[in-house]
């Protein structure tokens, strides 16, 4: 079935940039990229389950969902949307900086992305605190002044699950960015090697896109 091939070109391995299982930088880069895309596909399905549950119940109880949605803070939600879009921009710029080898800009842009992410999470904390104060966190203390308490609770349950899972992804993203900053400071990235920045960038954009779907579904839909 096979015959002996020529010895593998192991030149790149000498630079310590190519892991032992890969033939060359290009194979390593394309494997890593495919891996990240495949991972994002699993993420789509993970959030997909939540979106499905939301869709089913929204269709069944549009009134309760509109009422629950009415109590969310659209201003804070909108600000957060802008903050995240801004962070996507800085992330895209950091990928560019890594490719052009502008290390100083890379570190600054990554820090800016982290900062915007932190602002987003901070605002989220404020929103959660408000909900907690208003007894809108499902559980024994949940209380709703209005009709159809059960289905409004369902709305808030989904709200916390969806935004909560999103926030968990944001926190993981912050950690990854922090690691990139450290590596960037050491000058690890440049035109020859920038896959981690590229892939973590993909992840960050994905998390932003999830929010772009969450925001209208939770905050805007059903608002008159």
């Amino acid at each position: 079935m096979a015959e002996a091939g020529h010895a593998a070109p192991l030149a790149d391995e000498k630079h310590g940039l190519v892991s032992h299982q890969f033939e060359d930088v290009e194979q390593q880069r394309s494997a890593a990229a495919l891996g990240m895309w495949a991972f994002l596909v699993t993420e789509v399905l993970f959030f997909g389950g939540l979106f499905l549950a939301y869709t089913v119940y929204r269709r069944l109880y549009p009134e309760a969902f509109a009422a629950g949605s009415h109590h969310l803070d659209v201003t804070l939600g909108s600000v957060n949307t802008l903050v995240l879009i801004g962070s996507s921009l800085t992330m895209a710029l950091s990928v560019h900086a890594a490719q052009t080898g502008d290390n100083k800009a890379l570190v600054r842009l990554l820090l800016a992305t982290m900062l915007l992410g932190a602002v987003f999470l901070g605002i989220k904390v404020v929103e959660y605190a408000e909900k907690f104060r208003d007894h809108l966190v499902p559980g024994v203390h949940f209380h709703w002044h209005g009709p159809d308490e059960g289905h409004v609770r369902l709305f808030y349950g989904l709200y916390f699950m969806m935004t909560g899972m999103h926030a968990v992804h944001m926190i993981i993203g912050e950690g990854l960015l922090g690691w990139l900053v450290i590596q960037g400071r050491r000058g690890r990235f440049g035109p020859h090697y920038n896959t981690p920045v590229d892939l973590i960038g993909l992840y960050w954009h994905f998390v932003d896109i999830v929010w772009i779907f969450l925001f209208p579904l939770l905050y805007l839909l059903g608002r008159h």
């Binding site: 079935m1 096979a2 015959e3 091939g5 891996g35 495949a38 389950g49």
Partner: protein, 548 residues
């Protein structure tokens, strides 16, 4: 010619291979070598199989008599639940992909390792962590929801350790996802020069299709189980009718994963069988492309049939009809495989070593399992047999008769490659016969008792069902012996078995062109593939024309 790799150094003991490259516990627990990780998985799933098997023994002993005399109802409910959870999540799903897949995927494609070796080790640690959680749930008193975790029983009625057990299944899901992702990337990006898609061995096609399912279905299970955990902890009502939710939504989400999960268990096994049939008939698999595409067909259609678990759960008649139709369509690619394997034997050179006996056993049991699936997809008939022992018998024919036969066949077939030793052939043949006999005696009576109306998950049952249950228990004890034998002689052979050559079966395939056991980096030189899989020489038949 690749002879230079196969020549064993004169002093075999000195040759460095993946097993003796390094010693000590650290060299195993911190390894990133896919072959060593495969062995770590082998050890772990074997332990979990023993745990699940122990519960099976308890079930069969209890069902020997119609009354509940061995244990009380709560205990019995926990026993069958944990049998299901352990066997499905910790044995059947990981067994072939994580053990054989891990060992073979890089070898078969001529790569030095998987694309992400450290991720691979991380998957194993996740798996072990999940196992510990699962065993912890058992040790701390168990869980009694059934492995299906149906709501609202699991969220508001059961007072057992549901969250611990669910969390274990949640974590093991991530372990599967990462393994599947690793395989997909490896097969896409790391094939040796010349190894085109349609030159790949069918085992790789099967693993590829399986990995697709794992990646697309398991995340849905993860979020479903997470919702279940949150619902049980906070009661926000998503699956609780009292709070305005819908318990049947859980069933939809659960089966959206768990039906494809059946294909996660059976597809790799089918891949193993294709390898075995080719090797032991010395012929290419008949209709290679059809068999390859049928794996993908099963993977795709498998996503569209989840509703056939819910014909009597109150979904609309029309939904039932559509799911019934789609379920019938998924039967076709399975039938194609069975016919093609059978046709491969024609004008072959068939030998009957142990792996081939398992392949015969697989085809027989899978045929029966598949055909009884036609009964269950028949909506009008399913109303009667749903949730009876008929279903239990059907899915054991697929999951035990199919998956475990393939797993054992594959383990014997690649054992020389994995350990560098041969297993004792005579004993192994006897064990294969015992497994086949014991299996049929255990599960065939369950079809009959199911049609007679015995519901599943019954601790006590009407006396009229006793004869068939006694037969089943008797069969299970034979089956148990059949599983114990390989356990004993395979371990024995690791030390005392005869040394294996690089290619004891005379098989094609890159994995046979490197020494047994392979060196850590698999191939000293990257192989180049010039021919399709299974390019065996023509067979000279007596008084028949030459084939090929």
């Amino acid at each position: 010619m690749a002879t230079q790799y196969a020549v064993q150094p004169p002093d075999e003991e000195r040759r460095v291979h993946y097993l003796n490259a390094d010693y000590g516990i650290r060299s195993w627990l911190l390894t990133v070598d896919h072959k060593r990780i495969a062995l770590l998985y082998l050890g772990t799933v074997t332990v979990m199989f023993a745990v699940g098997g122990l519960f099976a023994v308890l079930i069969r002993l209890e069902l020997l008599t119609p009354t509940g005399d061995l244990m009380d109802s709560d205990t019995y409910n926990k026993v069958f639940t944990m049998h299901g959870i352990v066997m499905v999540f910790f044995f059947l799903i990981p067994a072939i992909p994580a053990v054989l897949g891990n060992f073979l995927v890089p070898l078969m494609i001529g790569a030095r390792d998987l694309a992400f070796p450290r991720l691979n080790l991380f998957s194993w640690y996740l798996f072990v962590f999940a196992c510990l959680f699962g065993v912890g749930a058992i040790a701390s008193g168990g869980v009694d929801t059934g492995w299906t975790f149906y709501t609202p029983y699991s969220t508001s009625s059961s007072n057992t350790h549901v969250i611990t057990a669910t969390f274990a299944a949640f974590v093991v899901g991530f372990s599967s996802i990462l393994t599947g992702l690793n395989f997909i990337v490896t097969i896409h990006r790391m094939r040796a020069p010349g190894l085109t898609w349609f030159r790949m061995p069918l085992f790789l096609w099967a693993i590829y299709a399986t990995s697709l399912i794992i990646m697309l279905a398991t995340p849905v299970l993860a979020i479903t189980l997470l919702l279940l955990i949150v619902e049980r902890a906070f009661h926000f009502g998503i699956f609780d009718a009292q709070l305005g939710g819908d318990p049947v939504l859980f069933q939809h989400l659960f089966w959206f994963y768990s039906h494809p999960a059946v294909y996660i268990m059976i597809l790799p096994s089918m891949g193993v069988i294709s390898e075995l049939v080719a090797t032991f008939t010395r012929k290419p698999i008949f209709g290679y492309t059809f068999v390859a595409y049928s794996s993908i067909g099963i993977a795709v259609l498998g996503f569209l049939v989840w509703g056939h678990h819910m014909f009597v759960s109150g979904q609309s008649v029309y939904a039932g009809m559509v799911f019934s139709l789609l379920s019938y369509l998924v039967a076709i690619p399975s039938a194609i495989k069975v016919f093609n394997w059978t046709a491969t034997l024609y004008q072959g050179s068939v030998s009957f070593q142990t792996p081939m006996l398992y392949a015969f056993g697989f085809i027989g049991l899978f045929t029966i399992g598949g055909l009884t699936g036609l009964f269950l997809a028949a909506t009008g008939l399913d109303v009667h047999v749903h949730d009876t022992y008929f279903v239990v018998a059907h899915f054991h024919y697929i999951m035990v008769g199919g998956t475990i036969m393939g797993y054992l066949g594959g383990l014997h077939y690649w054992w020389p490659k994995i350990t560098g030793r041969l297993y004792p052939e005579g004993l192994a043949k006897i064990a294969a016969f015992i497994v086949f006999l014991g299996f049929n005696l255990t599960f065939f009576p369950q079809f009959v008792v199911g049609y007679l109306g015995m519901p599943r998950r019954y601790h006590m049952y009407p006396p009229e069902f006793q004869v068939l249950n006694v037969m089943s228990t008797a069969g299970a004890s034979i089956l148990g012996v059949g599983y114990l034998l390989p356990f004993v002689y395979l371990i024995w052979s690791m030390r005392y078995g005869r040394r294996a050559t690089a290619n004891p079966w005379g098989a094609t395939g890159l994995e046979w062109q490197t020494p047994s056991p392979p060196p850590t980096h698999n191939f000293d030189v990257t192989p180049v593939v010039t021919e399709p899989a299974y390019s065996y020489p023509p067979i000279q038949h007596v008084r028949e024309r030459v084939v090929g």
